[in-house]
Point group: C2
Chain length 277, copies 2
DNA sequence: CGGTTTGGGGTACGGTGTACTCAGTTCGCT
DNA sequence: AGCGAACTGAGTACACCGTACCCCAAACCG
């Protein structure tokens, strides 16, 4: 997934002459924020960045990120493979663009839910709950999101808008600015970790063609021998429903997290009251 | 990274004749729990599974999971590439073995810390804190851990031992069994998500050769223009230290999480007391 | 000692990202 | 109107990857 690095950067340096790696980011930024004015000489482009990104996302959603290759996209779009490089500096940048597109897009209408996004609620608990569920929904809709390096995501307009909305909703907590960011990071980290586990499980089913049940059944003899060995007394004494799928780990964890924030907010308001007297 | 799937499973079926995918798991299980008795006909093996896994981990630690290829490992070990397939069914299984090895190994001695693992403390807060820090340490030492599908990790002896120790330490919380698992999953998810963000950042520095500062500087003009546009009032009003690196997001989030658990434990003990009266 | 079983390794195939090169199109300027 | 510049599209080629297949040498059993 990650490009080779050695061949990539050195090759870019020999070709372009710009500082290796730096030129690509500038190029990505222009692609994201750019005015889109195209030079007025030469033939009109037969493709759009938008179409490429859309096609890439469609393929990734349907068959996983591994299916997204330049050759595959070109056949999908009916062009030559190398033509894509007229619009995108490289595959890494294409992945960046996919990220920004998906993270910022409003959730598509679902049958059970009203389409319009309601304004930010003044209750931060509800806001956090919405943040987490929305993010989890997004990650489940696009499982490949977690396989793309998010650190160097160029902060596109849509990503900024999401952060802005979150911050506005959390303002009522009365925490300091870095703590607000901490809240967001904590919630997002929890959701990401959970989504990764779930996504891995689904991917494993798809790739091996083996259901979860079959998988665990294949391990059962080894596990039972281990339990009988006496080396794992705690695990051997666990109740039957311990690993049941009925338990909603997302709801459980999120509830605990919000309860933890509640404690901090209560402390702060108590402090403020003490200062006032 | 993930193997092709179509070629992999079908090829395994044509070669071996066993149910596609199922044979590999059985093979992995035997590799993990197996007795290691080798047949006494034919030449002695010049390699060990252990040496292969060790070499793979070394390469992954030093240069990232992308550098772990069968050809690379073979040159590292001084053998032919295809010889490796006498010991490992395929690359996917090798990754599984790397996982189990690393997740179960005791942390190597570090200068500042005593080497012996102390017995499980009876205070579950300390236990959770230790769980989280240990896991985070592990993920930082081996950033490639998060790029391997953990869902179908064969539960090896070392993985079981870790789970057993965690459960023993959390027993004093007095929660139901599924909730105990929920606690572990929640903490681990949080740590994984955070580690992923940190790992992505380091990887980005290594790959692009661009420090974080340089990266953000390159975005500054676009961000400033966005701030001045008035479309992001909350973000524009943030204090200077909001995104400072001084703030320890790991400590902050973990503290909130533990506080949230505390609330639940308190509720339970209160309920128990009410029942007793 | 002959046969059988096993490990080691070479070759080859289909896949990937992408550098390089050349042909063809379209506009601005003279 | 014509020409040259600037641009797009596409083909070819290279270095990687995982691994199927095949053959040979080594080691034990009878």
């Amino acid at each position: 997934m990650a490009k080779d690095g050695s061949t990539g950067s050195t090759a870019a340096a020999t070709t372009d002459g710009t500082t290796p790696g730096g030129g690509d980011i500038a190029r990505s930024l222009e692609l994201l924020w750019g005015t889109g004015d195209r030079p007025s000489r030469g033939p009109k482009p037969g493709l759009t960045l938008d179409r490429i990104v859309t096609a890439a996302i469609a393929v990734a959603d349907a068959e996983g990120l591994a299916a997204v290759s330049m050759r595959r996209l070109s056949t999908e779009l009916g062009t030559g493979t190398m033509s894509l490089y007229r619009y995108v500096p490289g595959k890494a940048e294409l992945l960046d663009l996919m990220l920004d597109r998906v993270l910022g897009e409003p959730l598509p209408d679902e049958p059970g839910r009203p389409a319009a996004a309601p304004p930010a609620p003044d209750d931060w608990r509800v806001a956090i709950n919405r943040m987490a569920t929305t993010y989890l929904d997004n990650l489940r809709r696009h499982p490949w999101l977690l396989k793309i390096n998010q650190a160097r995501t160029v902060l596109g307009p849509s990503a900024l808008r999401g952060l802005e909305l979150s911050l506005a909703a959390l303002r009522s907590m009365g925490l300091r600015d870095p703590e607000l960011i901490g809240v967001i990071i904590t919630v997002n980290s929890f959701v990401e970790g959970l989504a990764r586990t779930q996504g891995d499980a689904e991917e494993a089913v798809a790739q091996t063609g083996l259901s979860d049940e079959e998988f665990w059944d294949s391990q059962r003899p080894y596990l039972e021998r281990a339990m009988l060995s006496g080396a794992y007394p705690m695990m051997a004494s666990m109740s039957e429903d311990t690993f049941s799928a009925d338990f909603d780990h997302f709801a459980f964890g999120l509830e605990r997290l919000i309860a933890g924030f509640e404690v901090l907010v209560a402390e702060r308001t108590a402090d403020a009251a003490a200062d006032r007297t």
